[in-house]
Symmetry: C2
Subunit: 204 residues, 2 copies
């Protein structure tokens, strides 16, 4: 997948563009303009123009975007065009819930293994096995894993994070409610669910 | 709790300010400036100034913020000063994982009941019971619930959302990967975990 500099807000709107574009027939509508897309989705035109520019450049003057190409570019950006393998450490309740999320694959990520402190491999009646941590480092190196998910508690999150970095992981999705230190070159994305809920609560 | 207009980004930094402020002794440090806080936390001074202004006004010239008052204001804003009751609909894997999250209470929200399509009450060896949907409406009205969490699938999310609105809920946290329609006056916050992961993936 190509490296992208699309903002998280733009990124969040891409699935909507994609759904709409897939519904129209590129034979009948070979080109589509930002104005048309904005109207169809009831979004601001400036926003749509900005979103599409960051994904697929400026479009053709007076014509707009080539429909087929725009679909491809959005799929590429979302990562739907190929599956990136990911691993997860911490197979507690949240970790196991994430392992059952079928949505991830629609967006180009497949959690291929989970790791925990168990000494034997655990098959929890599902798609993904839970492997012992002792196998983590070699597994990541063998499969060239770049994407890791942390669902352990606050107490062991930094240690787990260090193990990921050591194993060659360069993008980490952290669910532990604490600040983690990563070396430069590693992207860290924190997902503090409690804070999200607290923010909603503050708007009551 | 007071209504607040603090941005989500600012909100996300409040726990850090709070942790630091609780560590210093207000007797020794009765006032603290944005500059000092910025230095201690290794954050930009402009950002800290803006964050604190949105929570606790401008501070006193040359002195800064009264430490005790600033702590109180941040706690108030985060909602840690009192517990808001919330309900959850959809007691699948993700729903049950959220029911086990102890972090929510630290941030002022307690999920007091979960609802699902079961006909009898389910006690899943935990703190919160899973009640049948038939009891939802009356439960929310009796307890004056304002905060609801949707963890059902895409197919039934809008229906569940409508039931929440009808029961008097005015803030909804939606985990279903779809767009929901809510009447004006109801705050909707979408949590699309797959998109978050896809965004991280796009930065690989």
């Amino acid at each position: 997948m190509e490296k992208t500099s699309v903002s998280k807000a733009t990124f969040g709107r891409l699935p909507e563009y994609l759904r709409m574009l897939r519904e129209i027939s590129p034979e009948t509508v070979p080109y589509i303009s930002a104005t048309t897309i904005a109207k169809k989705l009831n979004l601001g035109e400036v926003q749509v123009r900005k979103d599409l520019a960051s994904v697929s450049g400026a479009g053709k003057p007076k014509l707009g975007y080539e429909t087929v190409e725009l679909i491809e570019k959005i799929e590429q950006c979302l990562g739907c065009d190929k599956l990136t393998p990911a691993v997860l450490i911490g197979a507690g309740k949240l970790g196991r819930a994430l392992l059952h999320f079928s949505e991830f694959e629609k967006y180009g990520v497949k959690i291929i293994a989970a790791f925990d402190q168990n000494e034997e491999t655990i098959n929890f009646g599902g798609k993904t096995e839970i492997l012992p941590m002792a196998r983590f480092d070699q597994f990541c190196k063998d499969k060239q894993i770049r994407l890791g998910i942390i669902t352990v508690g606050e107490g062991s999150a930094q240690e787990v994070c260090n193990q990921m970095v050591k194993a060659g992981i360069t993008a980490i999705w952290n669910f532990a409610p604490c600040r983690l230190n990563v070396p430069s070159g590693v992207v860290l994305q924190n997902e503090n669910l409690a804070l999200s809920l607290a923010h909603l609560n503050s708007q009551l």
